[in-house]
């Protein structure tokens, strides 16, 4: 198994050892099954130890794993009849965001997500999954189309952020994100958002205002990347591991903060270890969400979204006000 992370090494060493014994047993025709079963018990214990006690940084590493499934990997497995739709009808087609129409459980849906590349060449084309304004405007076009034809929208979030570039600023990156927030607030069809990898800042939120918001177990979602936080707060991007912890960016953290609805479990060692199983888990949670939301009227959907976001935040009052007299 290629591409294991450092923190997984004890697991891998045991797995290698077991494989080695197995082939040795076959080769020499001697019975090592007691030893193998002993090691397998130890492996189970070791997996519990390693994957049951992951740090925030370990999860960030898994969220960034080069083999981690992308939006298109999940669209292939979760939806049927997918037709990709391109372009914002104003400037161009941003391949950092993909979207289209499909069926889910035999019902029509619109699905839109950030799209990373699988290799350098594809990453250049897809700008590493960091959208320009036209990407967000394509998402806007597709969600308004979904509203017109009264079908739910599923958003898959996976981005290091909206692209920080000259052209992006010229074409109104801020407005593109802000406009989506406003339009998602008022959309009269169900919106389900699932963070599948990285969820960085306004670039993620721009397709993230939903009736239900779920996160994969090893994804992260925050106001800024751990590296960005470390650089801004402590002037030292090498403190990213510490920032990942301090900033409370993991799925369990966001559940605790009441920002997300459900944590979608991942296979031990991350989504890439079993893509089919992962897709099935997402399908399950998505089905539950859409069934629940299909019972709400247009007004109730908008109302539910209002209440959901209206209540996020923590504050208190002091009585000795020092404001303007």
């Amino acid at each position: 198994m290629a591409n294991r992370l450092d923190f997984e090494r004890p697991v891998q060493e045991l797995e290698d050892k077991i494989e080695e014994l197995k082939s040795f047993m076959d080769e020499k025709n001697i019975d090592l099954s007691d030893e193998i079963s002993r090691l397998q018990k130890r492996l189970a214990y070791m997996e519990e130890e390693v994957y049951g006690n992951m740090t925030a940084w370990n999860r960030v590493q898994l969220a960034r794993h080069p083999e981690r499934p992308t939006t298109l990997d999940y669209i292939d497995r979760i939806f049927d009849d997918f037709i990709e739709l391109h372009g914002d009808r104003a400037f161009g087609d941003d391949e950092a965001i993909v979207g289209g129409i499909a069926t889910f459980e035999d019902k029509p849906v619109t699905v839109v997500g950030h799209q990373r590349g699988k290799d350098t060449k594809e990453n250049l084309r897809r700008n590493f999954g960091m959208p320009h304004p036209e990407g967000y405007r394509k998402a806007l076009r597709l969600m308004k189309q979904a509203e017109k034809f009264n079908r739910p929208v599923v958003f898959l979030l996976d981005t290091k952020g909206a692209f920080p570039g000259k052209a992006a600023e010229e074409r109104g990156q801020s407005e593109a994100i802000a406009r989506n927030l406003i339009e998602m607030a008022g959309l009269t069809v169900p919106i389900v958002c699932i963070v599948i990898g990285e969820g960085a800042s306004g670039g993620a939120l721009a397709i993230g205002v939903g009736n239900h918001v779920h996160m994969l177990e090893n994804s992260w979602y925050s106001v800024i990347s751990p590296e960005g936080a470390a650089a801004l707060l402590w002037k030292d991007s090498s403190l990213a591991q510490q920032a990942a912890d301090t900033m409370k960016i993991t799925a369990p953290d966001l559940k605790e903060l009441d920002v997300i609805d459900e944590i979608v479990p991942e296979a031990k060692g991350g989504a890439h270890r079993n893509v089919e199983e992962q897709a099935a888990s997402i399908q399950k949670v998505l089905k539950k969400s859409l069934e629940e939301l299909s019972k709400l009227s247009k007004t109730e959907l908008v109302e539910q979204r209002y209440e959901k976001y209206r209540n996020i935040g923590q504050y208190t009052f002091v009585t000795d006000t020092i404001g303007l007299k």
Partner: protein, 285 residues
């Protein structure tokens, strides 16, 4: 020597900056970032904190802004006592808030309430960059949202003056979600026919630029205000090319179709008043 300069019958005075450091107590003089002149602070206040020499718009605090915009004595503040908690138990956050509270005489980075502009009622929110760089955490999001809801209930317009470095890091994802919170309120207000005027002042960046600031029915800005999503330095590091000098200024945004107008501070109240007046003459409200 200073006496000689002040005796000159000028609206502003200039002296060499090194001289100022030696001779003048801090606060009496202000160095203009626009033309590097040293200006007598009281003179600067008389001209709405706009440099008479070069037109540079010096930063205004929330109370100066309110004084400059609303009819005298018309402002009633809402939720002045709302303060931040420390939801992530972020190291040093409470201490930093306390420090800024003392420094700015504000409880948070936005002042909200209601007042009149030439006798026309409006809800208003004014951000203040002296407090945590005007960054938006739970309190800023909540106060702005409450002000929008007030405007919606009272059927009056909502005006915001933005000045912010973006979302507040120390409240993590809760800060990010304030962008969504203010957006759901703005959308409802807008669907009910509410008038929303956004006035972007220096600086308006990050999560504030990428939410309410950019979606006014009218988007205005002060001259030379820095407005943008990503920081200039980050963009330079990412694309490895030099950016034009006027990049992310109000004028740059105007040229790229992102603003309705760049308005000199001296004309701000009159412009806002005119927009309110035109809207009062017809339509739904």
């Amino acid at each position: 020597m200073l006496k000689d300069i002040f005796n000159k019958k000028k609206k502003y005075a200039t002296v060499p900056s090194e001289k100022i450091k030696q001779d003048v107590p801090e606060g009496i003089m202000t160095k203009c970032p626009g033309c590097k002149s040293i200006i007598y602070s009281k003179e600067l206040e008389k001209s709405n904190k706009v440099c008479v020499k070069c037109g540079y718009h010096h930063q205004m605090n929330a109370f100066e802004r309110i004084k400059n915009t609303l009819d005298e004595g018309s402002f009633e503040e809402f939720n002045a006592g709302m303060i931040s908690e420390n939801p992530l138990s972020f190291p040093d956050y409470v201490e930093r808030l306390e420090k800024d509270r003392k420094k700015s005489s504000l409880n948070e980075a936005v002042v909200t309430g209601e007042g009149t502009i030439n006798s026309q009622r409006t809800a208003i929110a004014v951000m203040d960059a002296r407090f945590r760089m005007g960054s938006m955490g739970s309190v800023v999001g909540e106060k702005i949202t409450r002000t929008i809801e007030h405007a919606d209930k009272e059927k009056i317009p909502f005006i915001i003056f933005t000045a912010s470095g973006g979302a507040r890091m120390q409240e993590g994802v809760l800060s990010l979600m304030q962008m969504a919170k203010s957006s759901v309120a703005l959308k409802r207000f807008s669907d009910n026919g509410g008038l929303f005027i956004s006035v972007m002042t220096h600086p308006t960046t990050g999560g504030v630029s990428a939410s309410f600031a950019s979606v006014g029915d009218y988007n205005f800005a002060e001259p030379k205000a820095m407005i943008g999503f990503a920081g200039r330095r980050i963009i330079e590091q990412t694309i490895r090319e030099d950016l034009p000098e006027d990049f992310q200024t109000a004028e740059f945004l105007l040229n790229h179709g992102q603003l309705d107008s760049v308005i000199h501070r001296a004309d701000m109240k009159k412009t806002l008043s005119t927009v309110l007046m035109i809207h009062s003459k017809g339509g739904d409200r």
